[in-house]
Amino acid sequence: MVCSEVIAGIKNIFGAFEALSVTQAYADEIRIKVSPRLFKDTCLALHKMFSSSVYMLFASDERRATGVFTINCVFGNLKQGQWIIISIDIPQDEAYFDSLAKSIHSASLFEREIWEMFGIEPKGNPDLRRLRLHNEVWPKGNYPLRKDFQKLQTGDLGDYEFDRVEGDGVFEVPVGPVHAGIIGPGHFRFSVAGEPIINLETRLGFTHRGVEKLFEGQFCIEAIRLAECVSGDASFAHSLAFAQAAEKISGISIPKQAVYLRAIFLELERMYNHVNDIGGMAVDVGFSFPSAYASVIKEALLQLNDSLTASRYLKKVNTVGGVFKGLDENRKQILLNSLKSIKNDFDELIKILYSSVSFMDRIDTTGALRRKTAEGLGVVGLIARASGIPADLREYFSVVYKEAKFKMATEESGDVLARLKLRIAEFKESIRLIEVFAGKLIDGKEISVHPEFKGGRALGYTEGWRGPVLYWLEIDATGFIQRCKVVDPSFLNWQGLSYAVLGNIIPDFPLCNKSFDLSYSGGDL
């Protein structure tokens, strides 16, 4: 789609639309600037036009250069592999904008984030409680992502108000932040009447480490190491999205060999995590043999990663401009041989699970997230696909995946079983893809190019194993980062979990949780 088509499309729905500027910054990125009073209606028009949820909504502090804050809202035109970015300027003394939350639910979490980090008020958002800067420890009036934030000023502390469910026989079960297992911290508050859960409120932010602020001022090439630490089990997806954003800005195109290698590593990451989740589902219903079996497969994959890249979690593999580590003939053979035995083991694991009637009975219809709810919430990635929404960035954006005839898997029922089936299908597809990509590797060809930096901004994205990982990157002319906005799929998908568990019993919560398997650190940043 070219700019004029998008404009015509918006005008069709919203007649009074008028753009201040329209640019096609990159082939996959159209940027439209509007005046603040048209922001809401323009976003609604795009939401309708592409039936896209809000993938990103974030602010930037550009007061030093232009005297204003900017708000950017990113929609996905998946079918045509494009991102549409609506932006507005907000003067410092009128720090507010029209909230989208009541019309597009997926915007609401982002708006709360903007409010707590920048102090820009989304007018009309019914819920402005803080997400990450907990009231108990962070005084009012401190906005850490503003450029002039230096030191924490003392001020009033407060409390967090949970949603209350009232009525006869309703009681609350608070869980966390420290859980019984070896897992990240988060607080879950169940409201229960009898057995079924009638409300689940998740309060997160416990692992907030101020990642976005830490990116600022770092040199682009070094900052990729920080991207790897945003979510440790998706470190390759994060470094890849970051690298792509930086490469877009510097205008280099990376060698085809590096693209294949990155795809191989991305699929390896998907595989070890999917098999881990399958094992996790088994352990959460007390079925220990398959979970041990799955952990053996996971270990085999981690050791494979280690022997290919010298890192079990694929850290320090990616760089801006390509990859550090190629696969020579010898390593390629190790990869293909290991995959063969892993595939056999995986097939056995699935047989064990499918032949257990009690296991299948436990996961069937448990934790169902209906398609309509999923669409309304704007959940993304694997969780969306399990509820029947065909959304996979690999399908729409990637040339090499198209070459390899990537087949997107979807399920309809949105329950734990659907998510299990989807993980199984994706695991098998990953093996096939790696074999295809490995066949295209040529030993000795160049796998990275040197990036030259010029100032600019761009959106980097990739489909990690949980879903789309998005990086908005702004760098200055010398390659230092001015702003980096990170969106891990967990951020949007946590609310999906709150709806999926409704009507289920508390003992099934771990199972539902594991079938989502979201990242605490990725969501909390």
Partner: protein, 177 residues
């Protein structure tokens, strides 16, 4: 059931033989920890026999350390054979294993978890972030490293430390006299 039996027999025993490489681990950990280490060994022998129960707390890690700690209990590394178990409650724990830099939001939870543990108790840190906050050192939302908040007797280095490293660090203290 038949599937399970078949696979159990075909797979055989996967568990690796692991010798605790104590000298290397202690050399890497540095002198101050070595002194603490001898106390720790004495403590474990005297108070806990050969069984050590650990409660893990994540105070802001990226999740990779957790993944490796879980891997240390898989059939290949089988940490339990050395008498080390992970428990669900701090009330059952001898040691607290902390990962990640300490985020402001986790400070209270970390202190409460430590207070809930019965004496004698000690703290182990796992991963580079827990030792010096790693890439999160200058963050506005990080209170500091674990050692600034609780007395730490053993550190397991790495980003993340491999299961082998975790096991050899732990067993080095348990086995050597």
């Amino acid at each position: 059931m038949l599937q399970i039996l078949k696979n159990r027999i075909l797979k055989g025993i996967l568990t690796r033989r692991i010798e605790p490489d104590s000298s290397r681990v202690i050399a890497e950990a540095g002198l101050s920890v070595r002194q603490a280490g001898s106390e720790l060994r004495f403590l474990i022998r005297k108070k806990f026999g050969r069984s050590l129960h650990i409660r893990q707390v994540d105070t802001g890690s990226c999740g990779a350390c957790e993944s490796e700690i879980i891997s240390a209990s898989n059939p290949i590394y089988d940490l339990q054979r050395f008498g080390v178990n992970f428990v669900a409650s701090p009330r059952h724990a001898d040691a607290l294993l902390v990962t990640g830099p300490v985020s402001k939001n986790m400070l209270i939870a970390l202190n409460k978890t430590y207070e809930a543990m019965p004496e004698p108790k000690f703290v182990i840190t796992c991963g580079d972030c827990a030792l010096g906050c790693g890439p999160f050192k200058d963050s506005y939302y990080v209170c500091g490293a674990v050692k600034d908040i609780l007395p730490v007797v053993l550190h397991i280095p790495g980003c993340p430390p491999s299961p082998l490293k975790i096991i050899s660090s732990l067993t080095a203290f348990l086995k050597t006299s």
